[in-house]
Symmetry: D2
Subunit: 345 residues, 4 copies
């Protein structure tokens, strides 16, 4: 396969490239950048010195149509809105890592993202690329909306109990924590080292653009789900997301039953690891890998369930999941080139 990455100079793009360099089905990977065209990729990312001697290329839609089988968009919000419509009728399959194609309802997108939505026909074509819930649709897709980092951890944590009708639909509270790399490679005071180190913040309270994405996915599983509480915290670490999820139980269920239900739910999903009962995942335990690790625990005192779900935001939360989708749409084994052990410590 010949693949391309637009936005290769961001963290998501670099992580994609790291995976695709060793992917057995990828023959060639072309890196595009509007701002840094004609420079060596290793000028941006010297950690790839002597591994890659790739020169960044300018974005040329006609060239892409001719040379690329699958195009990854690892770009900020708004770029996909511009590029995707131009390629929609070509043979190029697209996996879009941005949020532009995830929200089916244009008004919702515009309310939460505060920018104009992509035109409806393009949105209709896009398949939400969360393989654990959506594998069959993805197989036939030409255009993938790759999920956001918080939604991936959160939806995978909630899917079994939401679909299984185990919790009260109005009771979902998600307390999410993220490392800083999710903010991208641009510079800002808010993400500078001296402001983040030895510090912890809450941000975008009740306003995070990932809320409608999570609610949309949950409603596909159970249309009675109501608005969720969702808050996001910035943690002094580079990679890693943890969603701690709380919900009221609708009926009595034991830890063992709940745990077994999760094990069954994900038994065909190689990247979800439902951890043994009473063992809780730490973010470092999925570091650099495509795993989503989940633990569940009933609280007898409050009749609530606590769910912990962790991912590496650049892997299962972005580039890893994109390659997982790439494998599925091309009929490869889901974990081809992607079954990387986490790096610990």
């Amino acid at each position: 396969m010949k693949v391309g990455i637009i936005g290769a100079t961001g963290y998501g793009g670099a992580e994609l490239y790291r995976i695709l360099l060793n992917h057995p089905k990828v023959e060639n990977c072309i890196l595009y950048s509007s701002s840094e065209a004609n420079t060596l990729y290793t000028d941006s990312f010297p950690h790839l010195s002597e591994i890659s001697n790739h020169v960044l290329q300018g974005i040329d839609i006609e060239e892409i149509k001719k040379n690329i089988d699958v195009l990854f968009l690892a770009t900020p919000a708004g770029v996909s809105a511009e590029i995707t419509p131009k390629l929609i009728n070509s043979n190029v399959k697209i996996i879009d890592l941005s949020g532009d194609l995830r929200i089916k309802n244009r008004a919702d997108y515009e309310k939460w993202y505060k920018r104009e939505a992509v035109e409806q026909p393009v949105l209709d074509e896009a398949i939400y690329g969360l393989p654990e819930l959506n594998r069959e649709e993805i197989k036939k897709a030409k255009l993938i909306a790759n999920p956001g980092c918080f939604p991936t951890a959160t939806i995978l944590g909630l899917a079994p109990i939401v679909q299984g009708n185990i919790i009260k639909e109005s009771s979902i509270i998600v307390d999410a924590k993220s490392g800083v790399s999710g903010a991208g490679r641009g510079s800002s005071r808010a993400t500078s080292y001296s402001e983040i180190n030895e510090n912890m913040k809450i941000y975008k309270v009740h306003e995070h653009q990932h809320v409608p994405e999570i609610e949309q996915a949950l409603k596909r599983l159970n249309e009675s789900v109501e608005a969720i509480s969702f808050s996001t915290h910035l943690i002094p670490m580079t990679r890693g997301i943890m969603s701690t999820i709380y919900a009221d139980l609708k009926r009595d269920i034991t830890d063992e039953e709940l745990h077994e239900f999760y094990k069954q739910f994900y038994k065909e999903s190689p990247f979800v690891r439902v951890r043994p009962l009473n063992q809780y995942p730490a973010t470092k335990e999925v570091y650099g890998s495509n795993f989503c690790d989940i633990a569940v625990k009933v609280d007898e005192r409050t009749k609530r369930v606590t769910i912990v779900s962790v991912i590496d935001n650049l892997m299962k939360g972005a580039a890893g999941q994109a390659v997982q989708n790439f494998n599925i749409i091309n009929g490869f084994e889901e974990n081809t080139g992607l079954y990387l052990a986490p790096l610990f410590p």
Copy 2:
């Protein structure tokens, strides 16, 4: 005043000593340690080189009765149970930073702490030292149970809406995050650098010993309060606690009303800073200080309130609050020697 610190070689003890060294009402501060008696304090804490030439002393109850006006216990669970009863009838006032005297109900203590409780008469004598809720009782106290770190942040965050009958009593969920210094100065694999750095964990799920302390304090404010959900996360930083609190509103209330209600509630409390609406505190903004910073926000979509409360766990969560109590029981201004600006960055 002549003061003593038992457990001076832990982090809480060191922080107490840092404050008391500059406290204008403290004439002499004696440091006790059973394990390191007769060694220089600066052997344990060289950051105090040339500031202190104190030699650690062995614990001698009779000597303490004679020489000490106020004794701080900065010791692990169990030590106070042994020492406090021996001093209860002396003139020595005691401020106990451990959890031993906080839980009035012995069965609750024994269930959550998994060790034998202090005898009931001693427990009955102990006053819970959260000045913002309890100032009048503290003034007359001889024996103070200094609150835990998580309870301080959590109870101060919740007190106004719990007392004000604003939220549903069964709906309280607290997602708490802490830096590592709360685990103390002992060594363990779980708190070693390589295991904590670039990592985040949840721990003691549904089992944290601070749960009964929080519930006891909330029930004093509003006896209808039911069991709370409380989870604790270990964050890769040394100091700082954040409690993110969620609760269902009982009635309509605007952000402005809620914010004003908090401002009024704490208007006599110099160490609680209710932050301006839409400004959220970060833990570094109270670093090294005795402040508890709080933000409140109503979520119209879910009819819930989100409250964020941050402290420095070694200050307002331990040593700082202990000195605040020391000031109150001695009739000094509440912020004497304690009005330290946070260190930023």
Copy 3:
């Protein structure tokens, strides 16, 4: 005293303000900022909420001449060059934390700083504010060039053996390491969290602008000193500088003799702590304080000496030393308002 700070919205300015707020001789402290005039200081630094309600003021030279006794310049290179000449003939004493006034030789400044130097008469007026070497001159000064962070740690580490004629003058090698706050509060990719965390870099190899400042100071102590090797490393921490210094011994000297020589050299200097033999300082042991901690050790195998010198770059390396100079030029005790214990851990 009425004092002013220009550049109050940087880290150095904020640290100055933290100290001066509690300084017993400071009656009023006015904060100036050209870029953020007329905004609340706590909008920039919310950690000072309710401690300060100061509104930043625009820079007005005439107003300063009228209202300010001592003016601190906590500004980037170039600003002092513009402001200082306008105040040089007023009654305002100036303490300049930038590098503009430190290098007496204009050609050296222009070579290393790559910008135009201040006019010679102003340079001639400026006294280099390293009190441990220069106390008498500072007492009479009206214009202080406050030393750089690396120079402070390095010169204090080297002064005794350079003046004492103990080492070969061509053999000085300084391997310096710094936390990130020295880079200031501006945002840049190079100092963003994801680039610094879990990473270590060398930078400005053989080109750091602090080289001529160090050499100038050493030559005042011993004119035979030759060019030094000086390298700087960026360490994943916010505060702290360590200079590890190597030099060839000219003659046999024991550890005990060397250590005693250092103790004597600094016996009148309250902020230099020569640590006991075989005890080495860590940067955290001076965190938030104005101390410079030094250890010395002879290596019998190589006939070299190793010296370790640590400071908090924002304190003894900037704001703390500026207040030390402020105390000296005003005839106050050198440690007035400044004898703060380090914050540990």
Copy 4:
């Protein structure tokens, strides 16, 4: 190949296992542990959940002789001294990651390690496994002494100029910095998070046991080399070593000549990346990989050279280099299963 790892529950062992799990020539990898025999490996290292279901085995020399082709010893000092002699006459090839077999001179070992050395015949048999200097000997070896972390970075940084007779033999100064994982997985106060975070220390001044290893290797390249100055610093990060090296030039040489000389020296070595002139490596740029990145720069002012050499201490400094040696002694391509791109950020 059937391989075994003794000491699999340490960080070096875990990193070996991570690599060997994906190594195309390894059919089976058995993990041994005396202290945790008969427990699941994932109980120690849950990041490998569902990747490994290996049960740790007790150490049984006879079983090893029968079942194992190559045995890795990832054990603390002293263990190899006990195990290696028992296997020396078997068919098992041994790669020892500890320091026990590195020092040929028993007296040197005993002086620096402060424990009894291995018997001389075993030491004589051991080949020092630094492939870039020693590839031909390693090909024929049966017993490999895998180099230490600091020696690997330092010797590779120095080898060209030492062998090339470019520097004065008495002038070598090495200022080394390391992340904390090099201290292993045991718990100690000195490596606990609260003591390391936001802190930097120098340790083992003039006493580090890696000194004789470095000097021995350098003397093999140039017997005139004299005692080196070598200091080690603990940096608040988990992985990564940087050696900053200073030496006096014997003769004039330009940056370009020196750089070219290094390029040539390492042209057959796939894991040494001599970085382009004026580009300096950061430790994160080799994170999780087996690369050693080197930069060189002449200082015209001092007639010295500065060399910067970085590795991941658990990879090129331990497990990665061990697998590199494994490949060489078995006649595989040197980078088989090991050409992993660094993880960034």
